[in-house]
C-alpha cells in the first residue's frame, strides 16, 4: 500500500522532482569542481539578488495558469523602481517609498487586466503594447540617469547579512503563502478553473473574467514588490533594471512545469525552476566556461523541459 502511494506521489510531482534532481546534480558538480560556489557571502548575495525574480515568477505562474501571459513586467519593474527611487530621493517617508511601487505596479497591472479580461483582447499583444509604451515613456522622462538613494534605505536600514536574510525569508514566506492559498483557498481554485476551461467556470458561476483581471492586478503588485526588493540592495536605481525579468519569470515557470495551455502547474515547481535557471550563469563563472554560452544553455534548458513535457504527454496519449 505504501509502495503504491509513494510511486503515485513521485508520478504526481514528477516534474518538480525532476527539476530538483537536475538542480541537485548541478550543485554536486559545483561542489566538486568549484566549492567556492557555496561560500557564505556570495551565496547569500546571489540568493538575495534572485528574490525579485522569484516574486515575479510567482505572479507570472498565476497569470499563465489563467491561460494568459504578461511580457510587460520588465517595464513595470523599471517604472516602479524609478518612482520609488524618486520618492526616496525626494525624502518621502519610508512607508510611502515602500507602498508606492506596489500601488503603481497594481495600477499598471489593472490596465493590462482591464484590456485582457474586460475587452477580451489577447494578453500577449496587450502586454506587448504596454511593455513598449511603459519602456519608451520611462526612457523619455528619465533619460538613463541613475537615481542616488539616501543612506539608510539600503537593506531597509538593517545590516547587510540581516537584510539579505530578511529578503530571502520574506520571499520564501510569500512563496509558501501563495502555494498554500492556491491549494486551499477557493480563490486559488478559481484561478485553476479559469485557466483550464473558462466557459465551464463561467457556467459554474465562478466569474473567470474577474479572476483574470485580479490576477493581472496581483502580477503588477508583485512586480512592484520585486522592484522594491531590488531597490534596497544597492544605493542607486538604474532605470534599465528589470530588463529581461519577464523572460526569466516565464522560463522559470515553464521549466517548473506550469502548462502554457493553462490550468496546470505548481508554485513549488516554479521555485525549483527559478533556482535552476539562476544557477546557470554563476555556474559558468565558477566553472570558468566562456560567457558567450549563457544564452544558448538557457535556451537549451527551456527546450529540454518543454520536450520532456511533450514526450510525457505523447506517451500518455498513446497509452490511452
Amino acid at each position: 500500500m505504501t509502495e503504491r502511494s509513494s510511486l503515485q506521489t513521485v508520478s504526481k510531482y514528477f516534474r518538480e522532482l525532476s527539476v530538483a534532481a537536475v538542480l541537485v546534480v548541478l550543485l554536486l558538480v559545483l561542489a566538486v569542481a568549484a566549492p567556492a560556489f557555496f561560500d557564505a557571502q556570495p551565496l547569500f548575495s546571489r540568493l538575495a539578488r534572485d528574490t525579485p525574480t522569484l516574486v515575479a515568477a510567482c505572479g507570472m505562474t498565476l497569470v499563465i495558469l489563467c491561460r494568459q501571459i504578461d511580457i510587460s513586467i520588465g517595464s513595470q519593474f523599471a517604472v516602479c523602481g524609478v518612482c520609488a527611487g524618486a520618492l526616496a530621493a525626494g525624502k518621502e517617508p519610508a512607508f510611502v517609498v515602500c507602498v508606492a511601487p506596489l500601488l503603481i505596479g497594481a495600477a499598471l497591472g489593472a490596465f493590462n487586466g482591464a484590456l485582457v479580461a474586460g475587452l477580451r483582447l489577447p494578453s500577449i499583444v496587450v502586454t506587448l503594447a504596454t511593455m513598449v509604451m511603459a519602456r519608451e515613456g520611462l526612457r523619455w522622462t528619465q533619460q538613463g540617469v541613475f537615481i542616488n538613494l539616501p543612506d539608510g534605505l539600503q537593506w531597509f536600514g538593517l545590516a547587510q547579512r540581516s537584510g539579505q536574510c530578511a529578503l530571502i525569508v520574506f520571499a520564501l514566506l510569500l512563496l509558501a503563502a501563495m502555494a498554500w492559498a492556491m491549494k486551499n483557498l477557493s480563490a486559488g481554485r478559481f484561478i485553476y478553473a479559469a485557466g483550464s476551461d473558462a466557459e465551464a467556470a463561467r457556467l459554474a458561476g465562478l466569474r473567470p473574467r474577474l479572476t483574470t483581471f485580479l490576477v493581472f492586478v496581483l502580477m503588477g503588485a508583485l512586480t512592484g514588490l520585486a522592484a522594491l526588493m531590488n531597490l534596497v540592495q544597492s544605493p542607486q536605481v538604474d532605470p534599465k533594471s528589470g530588463t529581461g525579468i519577464e523572460l526569466k519569470a516565464i522560463a522559470a515557470a515553464v521549466v517548473g512545469g506550469v502548462a502554457v495551455s493553462g490550468g496546470r502547474g505548481r508554485l513549488w515547481g516554479v521555485f525549483a525552476g527559478v533556482l535552476l535557471l539562476a544557477c546557470v550563469n554563476p555556474a559558468l563563472t565558477y566553472l570558468h566556461v566562456e560567457a558567450y554560452w549563457e544564452k544558448a544553455i538557457q535556451g537549451a534548458i527551456i527546450l529540454l523541459a518543454v520536450v520532456a513535457d511533450g514526450l510525457r504527454s505523447r506517451k500518455a496519449r498513446e497509452a490511452s
Partner: protein, 330 residues
C-alpha cells in the same frame, strides 16, 4: 469597393507628392546639425549633449538629436538615411558598428552632407573628421596602466564589459590585452563577463567573479553602469581595498564609492567638452573653417587643439579619483 478606392487614392497621393518634391536645396539659413549618440537613454551621451547644446546656442544653429532606443545594429543606419533625405547640413555620430555605419555615412557624403564622428569612429573614408576624446589605444592603455599601478604590476584581474557584441568595447579589450601581453607579463586576465549595460547584472557578475577567483586583485569595468555595480559587489563582499575597482564611468555615478575607497579611479574625459567640440567641428567643417591638412584647430572656449591627420584630439583620458572627483558634476 471602398477598399480599392482608398488604395488607389493613397497610391496616387504618394506618387504625386513624390513627383512634386524632388530633393533640392536645404532651405533655411540656419545651419542644421544632426547629432546621434550610440543610444538614447544613456547618461554619458546626455552629458555630451549638454555640451553640444552650449555650442549650438553660441552659434545660433539648429540641432537635431536622435538615436536608437533599441539595440538593433541597423537602427543607426536608418536614422542617418532619414537625415540624408531630410537634408541636414552635417551629421555627427558616435558609431555603434564601424563598418555598418560607414555604408550610410558614405552615402551622406556623396550627397554633399559633411560627416563628423565622435567617441567611436567609422571607417576613415566615411567621414571628414573624427573628434577623439582619446584613441582607443590611449583609453585602453590608460586603463591597463592604471590597473598595473594599483596592483603593483602583478596579480589576477577581470573585466566587465557591456555586451560581447559592443564594437568599441571589443576594440578596447583588444588593446587592453595587447598592452597586458606587452608590458605586464606578471598580470593575468582571468575572465571577461558581459553585464548587458545593466548595473544590477554587473553587481551579480562581480560577486561571482570575486568568489570564483579568490586571488582576484582588481576589477576593470569598461562599461559605465558596471563601475558602480562592481563597486557595490566589492563593498558587499567586504573586500574594499583588497580588490581594487577601476573603470570608465561618470563621476556622478561613482562619487560615493570613490570617497569610500571602494573605487580607486574612474577614467573618463569631460563629456560636455566632447559634445561642445563635436558641434564646433561639425559647424566649422561645413563652413570651411576646418579643412583636411590643418594641424591646429581653434575650438572656441577650449582653445587651440591638435589635429592629427583627420582626428581632433580632445586630450588624454582624465583620471577621476578621491582628490578631484568633487570638482565635476556630470
Amino acid at each position: 469597393m471602398k477598399q480599392s478606392f482608398l488604395l488607389v487614392l493613397f497610391l496616387s497621393l504618394a506618387l504625386g507628392s513624390g513627383c512634386q518634391k524632388q530633393s533640392d536645396s536645404s532651405g533655411g539659413k540656419k545651419l542644421t546639425i544632426a547629432l546621434m549618440p550610440k543610444s538614447k537613454g544613456n547618461a554619458y551621451f546626455i552629458s555630451c549633449k549638454a555640451g553640444a547644446d552650449e555650442a549650438v546656442k553660441e552659434m545660433g544653429a539648429d540641432l537635431i538629436f536622435d538615436g536608437p532606443t533599441d539595440p538593433d545594429p541597423a537602427k543607426q543606419n536608418e536614422i542617418v538615411e532619414n537625415w540624408i533625405t531630410l537634408g541636414v547640413d552635417v551629421i555627427a555620430v558616435a558609431c555603434e558598428n564601424k563598418e555598418g555605419i560607414s555604408t550610410a555615412l558614405k552615402k551622406a557624403r556623396a550627397k554633399g552632407i559633411k560627416v563628423v564622428t565622435f567617441d567611436s569612429d567609422a571607417n576613415s573614408d566615411a567621414r571628414d573628421f573624427f573628434v577623439n576624446q582619446a584613441t582607443p589605444e590611449g583609453i585602453a592603455q590608460t586603463l591597463m596602466d592604471e590597473a598595473a599601478r594599483l596592483t603593483n604590476e602583478e596579480g589576477e584581474f577581470a573585466i566587465i564589459t557591456a555586451s560581447l557584441t559592443a564594437a568599441n568595447m571589443n576594440e578596447w579589450r583588444k588593446h587592453i590585452e595587447a598592452r597586458l601581453r606587452e608590458k605586464y607579463p606578471k598580470m593575468k586576465l582571468v575572465d571577461t563577463k558581459p553585464c548587458d549595460d545593466l548595473k544590477d547584472k554587473a553587481q551579480t557578475e562581480a560577486t561571482n567573479l570575486l568568489s570564483a577567483n579568490p586571488n582576484l586583485k582588481l576589477i576593470m569595468a569598461i562599461c559605465s553602469p558596471a563601475v558602480p555595480g562592481a563597486a557595490e559587489a566589492v563593498k558587499q563582499a567586504g573586500k574594499t581595498g583588497t580588490v581594487k575597482v577601476i573603470g570608465l564611468g561618470l563621476p556622478s555615478e561613482n562619487r560615493k564609492y570613490v570617497h569610500e575607497g571602494v573605487t580607486q579611479s574612474v577614467i573618463l574625459w569631460k563629456t560636455t567638452d566632447l559634445g561642445y567640440l563635436t558641434i564646433k567641428v561639425a559647424a566649422d567643417v561645413t563652413g570651411g573653417k576646418l579643412k583636411s591638412g590643418d594641424t591646429t584647430y581653434h575650438a572656441g572656449r577650449l582653445g587651440d587643439l591638435e589635429v592629427k591627420g583627420d582626428s581632433i584630439i580632445l586630450g588624454k583620458p582624465f583620471i577621476f579619483n578621491n582628490e578631484n572627483i568633487d570638482q565635476f558634476d556630470f
